[in-house]
């Protein structure tokens, strides 16, 4: 026995506060990335390894004959951030975003895709993606060599399996035996089928007629309902949205939905003042699509104008709304 557990405990206590700070920083960063990527319902959590857990692992490594030279340096999961996601496609997108975050992390960023490294073509099992990262921006008092962190991405199905097996098998108080191990492991075949069929169903849904418009309209209704509202013309809303969500926008409906949420948040006070006039102001103030029009007036006014005219919508309405928002919009040629 070479590890001085008391000394390790004391040294770990010294870096605990900066690790807590780093954990919060990384959790917020990852949540922000998932949000900007319009990833559906991500559950992002972070934790700093408890002292007893670090000590146990250090002891176990020694007993297994593969001791850590310095557990505070060698343990890469002292800070662990995890994102549980609904779709495998979102896991793949998030993987690309993390690997591309060289302004956030030192490079190269270590990645372990379990499907490629452990499972291959003839084995079933847990398919998470793990990253070994060192953030560039570290809290003071945290030596860089002790700042390695782990990020895990997995689907909700994999998360459910992982949590159950963690308790029943991995951290089991008594040896579960081969039969119980097999019973749990064979469930991973169902996970793979589940995730794949969910992905295929989603892809099929997104290809159905009216899907992008419905996603955007849903986001608009959610945005508009944050303010004083009256009954509105849903058919008109659908018509306007189908005119404005054209071209490439049809492929980025979820992204537009997220942009609408951000826009509504950023322009909350101005929108609230305008929509408070809904009972006596311009009739379009009752309509949820007005939020999309205001957003496009700020970011893409000429594209808005082009689509509006191409869609044979009355230009007078757009002119009025540009006035309401205080936006400059030249009349069509």
């Amino acid at each position: 026995m070479t590890t001085d557990l008391q000394e390790l405990r004391d040294r770990y206590a010294e870096i605990r506060a900066p690790l807590d700070e780093l954990c919060l920083q990384l959790t917020e960063w990852l949540y922000d990335v998932t949000r900007r990527a319009s990833i559906l319902d991500p559950r992002v959590e972070g934790r700093v390894k408890e002292p007893h857990s670090l000590l146990s692992k250090a002891l176990r490594k020694e007993l297994e004959g593969d001791p850590w030279e310095d557990p505070l340096v060698d343990a890469s999961d002292k800070v662990g951030i995890r994102a549980d996601l609904v779709y495998t496609a979102d896991r793949d997108r998030l993987t690309a975003l993390i690997l591309g975050a060289d302004d956030m992390f030192e490079t190269p960023i270590g990645v372990d895709d379990k499907l490629k490294t452990t499972l291959g073509v003839d084995r079933l099992g847990y398919h998470g993606v793990h990253f070994d990262v060192v953030p560039r921006d570290l809290p003071g008092r945290l030596p860089r060599e002790m700042a390695r962190c782990e990020i895990q991405l997995r689907t909700n199905a994999q998360a459910a399996w992982s949590m159950a097996t963690h308790d029943l098998i991995y951290k089991a108080p008594v040896e579960p035996g081969d039969l119980l191990r097999r019973r749990v492991n064979r469930l991973t075949a169902l996970l793979e089928c589940f995730d794949e069929d969910v992905h295929r169903t989603r892809t099929a849904m997104m290809g159905r007629e009216g899907y992008p418009e419905a996603i955007v309209l849903g986001a608009l209704e959610a945005a508009r309902m944050r303010f004083p509202a009256v009954v509105y013309d849903r058919e008109l809303a659908r018509d306007v949205v189908s005119v404005l969500i054209a071209g490439d926008d049809a492929d980025r409906a979820h992204e537009i939905a997220r942009e609408l949420a951000d826009f509504t948040e950023a322009r909350h006070d101005k929108l609230e003042r305008l929509f408070s006039k809904v009972s006596y102001g311009h009739f379009m103030l009752a309509q949820p699509e007005t939020v999309l029009i205001f957003m496009m007036l700020e970011s893409r006014p000429m594209q808005l104008r082009t689509r509006w005219v191409a869609g044979d919508l009355p230009y007078r309405l757009l002119d009025d709304l540009a006035g309401e928002w205080g936006a400059t919009l030249p009349a069509p040629l």
Binding site: M302, D320, E324, P330, L333
Partner: protein, 347 residues
């Protein structure tokens, strides 16, 4: 650059109007018809005025500031006091402003009388003030009536007392607020065909203001921004040629103003329009309108040259090039350049 006014934040709280005649000579004895009471108007009416003003200011507005070369012009002082005071005396301020308008405007044989409004405005919750000058219009009113015989009839009547309709194009509006303690405003004048009218009478003599950004600096900035955009962000030679020629033609034209958003809509391919508007915003160039002043452009290029893939060169005055030379495609998609002109010499 100091903060700008967000016209979209305007909310009209109260307004008061006065009839302001124009003198038609020394013998014209018509006087100001000043009112004494702020009318109790329904929200819908106030909103109507608010939207009309916002539309005018956002489409044609020019940012202005007090013209200190005029000494201590009375209107900015009056309106600054109004914005600062609590409670705000709209009647007294409005009467004083109307008298100032009556003094500052010259006689016109073409205009009869106007309606002058002072509006107590909230600008995103902070106090602001606006003035509007509206010319009289005629319109037709209609009423569904019933004849003594019980037959339905639609009666129409000419109403010569209209001042502001949904389609009114002729009026002047100005909105002022204190931003970071500085009195700034946005002014629009739908009679901008005559630039001296804005500069001398409404903007300068009445409002005591001048454009907030130097026209020469803004024109230079506009020119450089578009030129850089053509050079760095357009790749298609045909698009480059068109936009570059339009830019040079614009600065060489006799038009007194440039309206960047309109210019972009007219000369820039659709897929690039929003990107150029974004470049204008980054360079703090107003997208509504500004007075053109090419004095900082030096010798603004008045000629341009196009070279084809086979080495043919077409050169000429930018205005002629913009008007007479068009790149395009023929029916089978072959690139062509059409020059609409008369050949006068060769060799």
């Amino acid at each position: 650059m100091a903060k700008s006014i967000d016209v979209g934040q305007v909310e009209v709280l109260r307004l008061i109007g006065h009839r302001v005649p124009r003198k038609r000579g020394k013998d014209d004895t018509r006087r100001l018809a000043l009112t004494e009471v702020v009318p109790d108007l329904p929200d819908k009416t106030l909103e109507f005025f608010g939207l009309r003003m916002k539309k005018s200011l956002s489409a044609k507005g020019q940012e202005v500031e007090v013209d200190e070369r005029l000494g201590d012009p009375p209107l900015p002082k009056l309106l600054t006091e109004f914005v600062r005071e609590t409670p705000r005396d709209l009647v007294a301020t409005s009467k004083a402003a109307a008298e100032e308008l009556y003094r500052s405007q010259g006689g016109s044989r073409y205009e009869d009388e106007s309606l002058f409004l002072t509006l107590d405005v909230s600008l995103g919750g902070r106090p602001a003030v606006a003035v509007m000058k509206l010319e009289k219009e005629s319109g037709v009113e209609w009423n569904e009536e019933t004849t003594p015989q019980g037959e339905a009839v639609l009666m129409v009547e000419v109403n010569p007392r209209l001042f502001l309709t949904d389609n009114t194009r002729v009026f002047k509006a100005a909105l002022f607020a204190l931003l970071d303690g500085k009195f700034v405003g946005v002014v629009s004048d739908d009679q901008q065909g005559d630039p001296t009218d804005v500069a001398d009478y409404f903007m300068r003599r009445f409002l005591g203001c001048r454009p907030r950004r130097s026209p020469a600096v803004t024109t230079q900035s506009f020119y450089r921004t578009v030129a850089r955009f053509v050079d760095k962000e357009l790749t298609d030679p045909e698009e480059k040629a068109r936009v570059d020629t339009a830019l040079k033609s614009e600065v060489n034209s006799n038009r007194p103003r440039i309206s960047p958003a309109e210019w972009v809509g007219e000369h820039v391919p659709e897929e690039h329009q929003d990107r150029l508007l974004e470049r204008f915003r980054e360079a703090e160039i107003p997208t509504t309108t500004f007075t053109k002043d090419v004095s900082r452009l030096g010798n603004a290029p008045s000629r341009t040259k196009w070279t084809t893939a086979s080495g043919i060169t077409i050169a000429g005055n930018v205005n002629d090039m913009a008007e007479r030379v068009r790149p395009g495609e023929d029916e089978d998609g072959t690139p062509i350049i059409i020059v609409r002109d008369t050949l006068t010499s060769a060799g």
